[in-house]
């Protein structure tokens, strides 16, 4: 055996064991921390089987999750795709927690395990720890204990009030999950012990202060003039902090018919929605960061002679599968691949920093030729989300490479029009349009609570600010509205108002004789 030559290799064949995993991890860690200057949470790597990966899929990637039929539906769906070979399973799954938990599939070869370790345990991990969205909006050290609390709490509620009682509340809450996040206001931090304590206290307080007498209070005399009514309306709006974009939050705090435990369920769903919100805003950056990191680390390990050529080819093969971007007219085209775009942009930043063209100097005067690509990337990873990142860093060179073009689609016309292509006049427009398409807040329907008269008929009024004339799908809109009504207990109406002209485009209500 040629021990002298081969001793530098981290592993020799495709089988892995804990010794090679750990040796490879150490080598990767050295490069990641010393050369790339990454800053990560402590890692916890867990080996799981494919069945367990399917389980993890269906519970939205969390290791702990409460029980609900919709996860069963997802499981059945994922399992079907997997068994039919339509979709492979991910090689890894990583959780934004402290310590950062990464699941590795047992079927992976050793080369894949190395790739995945670099990708998830360092790429994603660094991003989770440093990106401002995650820092501000999620609490990595508390999420696991919060999920444990949530799971136990919901199980306890099911025991006490019955599974179906809990299910109907969760069904309604899930329907509003997209409207259950704070987009602008930062949510308070949470810790599980405090949560539990608070839930208990809240219950006790409600029980102590409950008095049937309140219901018998006579209605206050009504102010007749419209001026009074208007002032009343603005006052009560102010008291309720309206308009409110977080429907779940509003219902949790204000609904008159919910029991304390039902409010707690809404809160749990809301907290989970909020926890995942930053991930949806940083898909391109997050995957790009992880892909860039694994690519850099694997190449470095190969240069050091610590990975054999065979293993390197295997890694490159799956790397190029991951960053493959089919054209729009390819039957495989699923949309823009976030891995491909993110990775290409980050490589492009490195190129601009080290080897800029004159065009790059015009477009990126601060970084072009500075040579500080590491610092630039680390800064970008920390301080951007997809929208701002693309707006800031998408270069004309990349637009040409992807041959991006902009298509406008007006539902009224029977054609789409090509608005811009990859030329001098089109770069700016394409960049802006692409950035906007990654703005989650702008792409989701903007629905807010605008008014409710708690002392009157308690009719809850929602407003949908219609942008670009994009209305809501009617069947699901009405079904969702019924869920809102279920949580609110009284009639609910939704008005679609054009964001620019303030015209009322549609109105619908759960009241039997809606106006």
């Amino acid at each position: 055996m040629a021990k002298g030559a081969a001793s530098n290799l981290l592993f020799h064949d495709s089988d892995w064991n804990f010794e090679t995993l750990s040796r490879t991890y150490d080598a990767i860690e050295t490069i990641a921390l010393d050369e790339l200057q990454l800053d990560v949470y402590p890692n916890q790597l867990e080996i799981i089987s494919s069945e367990q990966m399917l389980d993890a899929y269906s519970s939205v990637g969390m290791p702990l999750m409460y029980q609900h039929w919709s996860f069963g539906k997802r499981f059945v769906f994922e399992e079907h795709l997997y068994r039919k070979g339509r979709r492979g399973l991910a090689y890894e799954l990583v959780i934004n927690s402290n310590p950062c938990i990464t699941y590795l599939m047992e079927e992976n070869t050793m080369a894949m395990q190395a790739l995945v370790t670099a990708h998830a345990a360092f790429g994603h991990n660094h991003f989770f720890k440093n990106n401002y969205l995650f820092q501000q909006w999620t609490d990595a050290s508390a999420i696991l204990s919060y999920m444990e609390f949530a799971k136990k709490y919901i199980a306890k509620c099911e025991e006490r009030y019955g599974t179906s009682e809990v299910e109907v509340i969760l069904d309604s809450a899930h329907a509003l999950m997209d409207q259950g996040v704070f987009r602008y206001r930062r949510p308070p931090r949470l810790s599980s012990e405090k949560e539990r304590e608070r839930a208990r206290e809240r219950l006790e307080y409600e029980e102590q202060t409950y008095s049937d007498l309140w219901r018998t209070l006579p209605p206050s005399p009504d102010g007749d003039s419209t001026k009074d009514a208007e002032r009343d309306a603005s006052e009560r709006k102010k008291a309720l902090n309206l308009p409110e974009e977080n429907l779940l939050y509003f219902l949790e705090k204000t609904s008159l018919i919910l029991e304390p435990w039902q409010r707690e369920l809404l809160r749990i769903v809301r907290v989970i929605a909020q926890y995942f919100y930053p991930q949806r805003q940083t898909k391109v950056m997050n995957e790009g960061c992880a892909t860039f990191v694994h690519y850099a680390i694997m190449n470095r390990l190969f240069d050091q002679g610590r990975i054999s050529e065979g293993s390197m080819l295997e890694m490159l093969h799956s790397h190029s599968n991951v960053v493959f971007q089919p054209s729009f007219d390819d039957p495989r085209f699923p949309g823009i691949n976030p891995y491909a775009l993110g990775f290409a942009m980050m490589q492009d930043i490195q190129r601009v920093c080290t080897d800029p063209t004159s065009e790059d100097r015009d477009w990126f005067p601060e970084i072009a030729g500075s040579g500080k690509w590491r610092e630039t990337l680390i800064d970008a990873w920390a301080n951007h989300r997809d929208e701002s990142f693309i707006l800031q860093y998408l270069s004309p060179a990349l637009i040409r490479k992807f041959r991006l073009f902009l298509l406008t689609d007006d539902a009224g016309d029977n054609y789409c029009e090509v608005a811009s292509i990859h030329n001098e006049r089109g770069y700016e427009t394409i960049r802006t349009a692409l950035a906007r398409s990654y703005d989650v807040a702008a792409n989701q329907s903007d629905i807010q609570v605008v008014d409710v008269d708690l002392l009157g008929d308690r009719h809850l009024r929602l407003q949908h600010n219609v942008k670009n004339g994009i209305l809501l799908d009617e069947a699901s809109r009405d079904a969702t509205l019924r869920h809102v009504r279920h949580l609110w207990g009284y009639d609910v109406s939704l008005a679609g108002v054009d964001a620019e002209t303030d015209d009322v485009l549609y109105e619908c209500s759960t009241a039997p004789n809606s106006e």
Partner: protein, 441 residues
């Protein structure tokens, strides 16, 4: 150094509870699907996994979704080849073609099917049959296995070591490797002791002792190195799970297919046959099903024809029984087969034929059969009239005499699925260690 945790041995079915909730939610729809599949499929197929389409009602998850048919949108797409600004492209006919999103998920959900396990299928099948829980459990039980000796293995649990084999291997290996026996060692040790006792101080004598000691030492070392019983010698008894002794059974399905048997009647009859088949399947390794249909003449047919093809004519029940006897004689000798018969009819029979049936049953059939079940399918309105009395069709009245004489004859009237079970009650009440005809022989 990271923290590695091996989770592979953790329980896998974390999603089972969620799956169960999902199925419960879609229960009504799944039940209908299964019912249809059972109606269309073969009797023997009930007892297996079923593929079912994704239920539609009850499992929707609505949310506020932008409607694809409205508004103005912009898409940035990769891969421009020949477009320049201002070009107009016709819209693809399917919605969402440009976004690519709708098309992707839409098409995969259309033909989406998933598999219900055998247990889940049976649960749905049993639902309105109103079987007692014990019986449900019994039916769902798979074949029992008994470990049976099957040769030897090199690994196993210590309790299964086969000492004889192990020692034989050990002996052969000791011979082959020339492990010094205890006797050899003892002989040399004796000689050394004897020489030492002689206290002869001559050089030759000392040398002899020296040589012998060395020899002794070598032997001892060799004995230590070559174990008496080495792990390679050890053999374990190997056991193979074998299904409990099961014999073969044949199930005769007899049905009147004259015009009076409509869709509803046939559906009920099918469930009756399925239940008997499930019962037999649990108990016998091999089951043949013979379908005999009759009008005024009887014939053996395949399952499809049995349930779906129409025939017109009068009704002479005895022809079916005669046909059954002929088939038993020809293919299923009663010494080798357990014979079960299930007859479904609406009770009509031509005048005078019922007595012939009864005498056939008395004289031959009941001696050959393990069990003979007769169901008379009646209208729901008729239950009130006939439910408790002995009155009824000529066939029913005639069969009463058989029923009173033979304990393995069962008959009942059914109008609803829940009426089917009573006819089998006796069958299911028997102990699992039922005496088999083949064993009695």
């Amino acid at each position: 150094m990271p923290n590695f945790i091996d989770r592979r041995l953790n329980p896998k079915d974390k999603s089972l509870g969620n799956r169960r909730r999902f199925l419960k939610r879609a229960r009504e729809e799944l039940k209908r699907t299964i019912k249809e599949q059972i109606k269309a499929g073969k009797i023997a197929d009930v007892d297996a996994e079923h593929r079912v389409p994704m239920p539609e009602r009850g499992v929707g998850e609505p949310s506020f979704q932008p409607s694809p048919a409205t508004g103005e949108r912009q898409y940035v797409l990769p891969g421009n080849h020949e477009f320049s600004p201002g070009d107009r492209l016709p819209k693809p006919s399917a919605r969402g073609g440009a976004s690519g999103k709708g098309a992707g998920t839409g098409e995969s959900e259309d033909d989406f099917q998933f598999v219900l396990s055998r247990d889940e299928v049976l649960d749905l099948f049993f639902e309105d049959l109103e079987l007692p829980d014990m019986v449900k459990l019994n039916l769902k039980e798979s074949v029992a296995f008994k470990p049976r000796r099957a040769g030897f293995a090199t690994s196993g649990s210590p309790t299964n070591i086969n000492v004889g084999r192990t020692m034989r291997n050990s002996y052969g290996r000791r011979i082959a490797l020339r492990r010094p026996s205890r006797a050899d060692v003892a002989a040399i040790a004796d000689e050394v002791a004897k020489l030492e006792a002689e206290s002869n101080a001559s050089g030759a004598h000392q040398k002899r002792i020296e040589a012998l000691r060395e020899e002794l030492d070598k032997l001892e070392r060799r004995r230590r190195r070559i174990a008496y019983v080495d792990p390679v010698d050890i053999r374990f008894n190997r056991f193979e799970p074998q299904p409990l002794p099961n014999a073969s059974a044949v199930m005769f399905c007899l049905m009147d297919v004259s015009a009076s048997m409509g869709e509803r009647e046939k559906d009920l009859a099918k469930r009756f046959f399925v239940l008997l088949h499930l019962f037999l399947k649990r108990r016998y390794k091999r089951i043949d099903i013979v379908f005999i249909r009759h009008t005024d003449e009887a014939g053996e047919v395949d399952e499809n024809t049995f349930f779906y093809s129409k025939q017109s004519g009068g009704t002479v029940v005895s022809t079916a029984i005669e046909e059954m006897l002929r088939i038993i004689e020809e293919r299923y000798p009663a010494r080798e087969w357990n014979i079960y018969a299930a007859q479904a009819s609406d009770g009509e029979n031509s005048a005078g034929d019922s007595d012939l049936c009864v005498s056939l049953l008395h004289r031959q059939v009941m001696r050959l059969c393990q069990y003979y079940a007769y169901v008379e399918i009646i209208d729901e309105r008729e239950t009130e009239i006939f439910g408790t009395t002995d009155n009824g069709t000529s066939l029913w009245r005639a069969y009463r005499t058989v029923d009173s004489e033979w304990s393995n004859f069962q008959m009942t009237r059914i109008a609803r699925p829940s009426d089917i079970y009573p006819v089998f009650r006796k069958l299911f009440a028997r102990q699992p260690t039922m005496q088999l005809r083949t064993e009695r022989r």
